[in-house]
């Protein structure tokens, strides 16, 4: 296909949008609704993962050093924690004295029983470790246990396992929802465009017998579908932006941004939602139209 023929075809695609306004509006509405659903799923799953990550970092791994451990052993432990920054978000070491004070504080009025307690003889150095993701828990625990000088490593294993499973489930559910919604919208769009294609089947037949290639016949419909997808994507993004911003404003009035239950602000999600809507909309629109016209273009 020559460049001029290509541009003629693209021009036809733009004209096709105006030629069948009702089909265009119906197609835009269908893709818009699908993209809105996709956006809702995306925002929900992004927030779910965000909260789970925060929760996953909360039940920390407690590392208990042996009583009388050496400085070298302490340094080895710290060295491990400092080098694995991809897995370890933060760590906080406490001396026997600090642990003693914490116990006293937790005991409150009964703390007097610890007045003569020789914490240096009975309390170890401890390190509290926060992970970047709960899925690293087993690996980090295993590595820490191998370091000499560490007495035991405690973790909330059940919570960690649950969180890991829950994160995976949310990810899989989001993936499946995306695929299902994508296929449904592709099916709906290809059927809607088929109506438009059917009304232009004579034109397609004429194009074929004057020597138009399959690509030349298909391109206007693909361009038309892509434009419909683009418009739908922008509308879906705008609507989801407004709706989520309003929801965020109302739900987060009394919640601190650093809180465990704080949602992701739309500003940090909008780019991803826009990209998702644009990519899905354009792909659904163009492929759906391409499928619809396929039956009619076989020379």
């Amino acid at each position: 296909m020559s460049l001029r023929a290509f541009w003629n075809s693209v021009k036809e695609g733009f004209q096709g949008i105006i030629r069948h306004p009702l089909v265009t509006v119906a197609s835009i509405t269908t893709i818009l609704l699908m993209l809105l659903l996709m956006s809702v799923f995306f925002i929900f799953s992004a927030n779910a993962r965000y909260i789970m990550r925060k929760v996953g970092q909360q039940p920390p791994i407690e590392v208990y050093m042996k009583l009388g451990c050496t400085q070298e052993q302490m340094d080895m432990t710290v060295s491990y924690l400092q080098t694995n920054t991809d897995k370890i978000k933060s760590y906080y070491g406490m001396s026997p004295e600090e642990n003693y004070k914490r116990f006293r504080k937790e005991l409150g009025d009964s703390s007097t029983i610890l007045d003569d307690f020789d914490y240096n003889s009975y309390l170890p150095y401890t390190v509290t470790v926060q992970l970047t993701d709960p899925q690293y828990a087993d690996e980090v625990v295993m590595n820490l246990q191998a370091i000499p000088g560490i007495d035991k490593v405690m973790q909330e294993s059940n919570v960690m396992t649950f969180l890991t499973r829950a994160t995976k489930t949310v990810n899989i559910a989001t993936g499946i929802a995306f695929i299902v919604l994508f296929l449904i919208s592709l099916f709906i769009i290809s059927n809607m465009v088929r109506i438009s294609v059917f009304s232009r089947s004579t034109e397609i037949a004429i194009m074929k017998f004057v020597g138009a290639t399959n690509a030349y016949i298909r391109l206007p419909y693909i361009v038309e579908g892509a434009i419909v997808g683009l418009i739908s994507a922008l509308c879906a993004w705008g609507l989801s932006y407004l709706a989520y911003s309003e929801l965020f404003k109302r739900a987060m009035t009394n919640v601190e941004s650093g809180s465990l239950y704080a949602l992701l602000p739309m500003s940090s999600l909008s780019v991803y939602v826009l990209f998702l809507c644009l990519a899905s909309g354009i792909i659904i629109g163009s492929i759906g139209s391409g499928i619809a016209v396929r039956k009619y273009v076989k020379v």
Partner: protein, 269 residues
């Protein structure tokens, strides 16, 4: 040159539309394809435009076997063939000029040159003043002229017309045929599939008759029906001798047949 070599076409339903068709059409010929409905002539036409692929045999255009050509090349073949249908097949939402230009747009002819080409072909079919009209504003004959103009746009080597006068009154049919004849005089091969017996009889061009998927007649300068020699009643012996002696000098069967004037395309003019 168009050559059919033992072409068979059997549809998926099991119908044998063509059962060994062989003929040659030289460049510049004007040929009528005739036959009853269901005889296979439409399938034959479709084999020329590669709407159908023969199940057996070969269809060659200029020694190129189009029955084996890949799908990607079919559009290129169709640009070499002007196709005209009974129902005109014009796009109702485009003007006359746009309908014609359409055939040039698909191959990316520059706009300025395309406008000139459209003007020329519209002039040749006598519709220059209707360039901006919509197809539905035109009469049937005018619409068919537009279809012919579109078929001519890319200067095809061959024009294939499937019942081009099927929807037209006799007078308009006459003018359409005159136009096709005019195109043929420029050297373009014209193949017309028709039921119009009067037209075929009047034009006295080559006729290929198809019946039950076979060619039953291929005659030059012929009419719609085959000329059958009337059977002579047997004469008594005495009269037969008398008749023989009277005609001994010049028998009718010995006379040379009138020579068919060569087609323009055949002598290259």
């Amino acid at each position: 040159m168009l050559r059919f070599e033992n072409v068979h076409k059997t549809y998926k339903t099991g119908t044998d539309a063509l059962r060994g068709v062989t003929f040659v059409i030289e460049d510049g010929e004007f040929v009528f394809i005739i036959g009853k409905s269901g005889s296979g002539k439409s399938t034959l036409m479709k084999c020329i435009t590669r709407e159908e692929r023969p199940t057996e045999g070969m269809v060659l255009i200029d020694r190129f076997n189009i029955s084996k050509m890949s799908r990607a090349l079919v559009p290129i073949l169709r640009r070499q063939i002007g196709i005209i249908y009974q129902d005109f097949r014009l796009i109702e939402t485009k003007t006359v000029a746009e309908n014609i230009a359409f055939a040039g747009e698909i191959i990316g002819v520059p706009k300025k040159r395309l406008n000139q080409m459209v003007d020329i072909v519209l002039g040749s079919v006598g519709l220059r003043d209707k360039a901006q009209s919509m197809p539905l504003e035109l009469s049937g004959g005018e619409q068919q002229r537009v279809a012919i103009a579109r078929a001519m746009l890319n200067n095809p080597k061959m024009i294939v017309a499937d019942e081009p006068t099927g929807n037209l009154d006799p007078e308009t049919s006459e003018s359409i045929m005159a136009l096709l004849l005019e195109i043929n005089r420029t050297g373009t091969t014209v193949i017309v599939c028709t039921h119009d017996s009067n037209m075929v009889d009047r034009m006295q061009k080559r006729v290929i008759e198809v019946e039950d998927g076979l060619i039953v007649r291929d005659e030059r300068a012929s009419g719609y029906t085959a000329v059958v020699e009337p059977e002579q009643p047997a004469l008594p012996k005495s009269m037969e001798d008398e008749f023989d002696s009277e005609n001994s000098e010049e028998k009718e069967s010995d006379k040379p047949l009138p020579e068919f004037p060569p087609n323009r395309g055949e002598d290259g003019k």
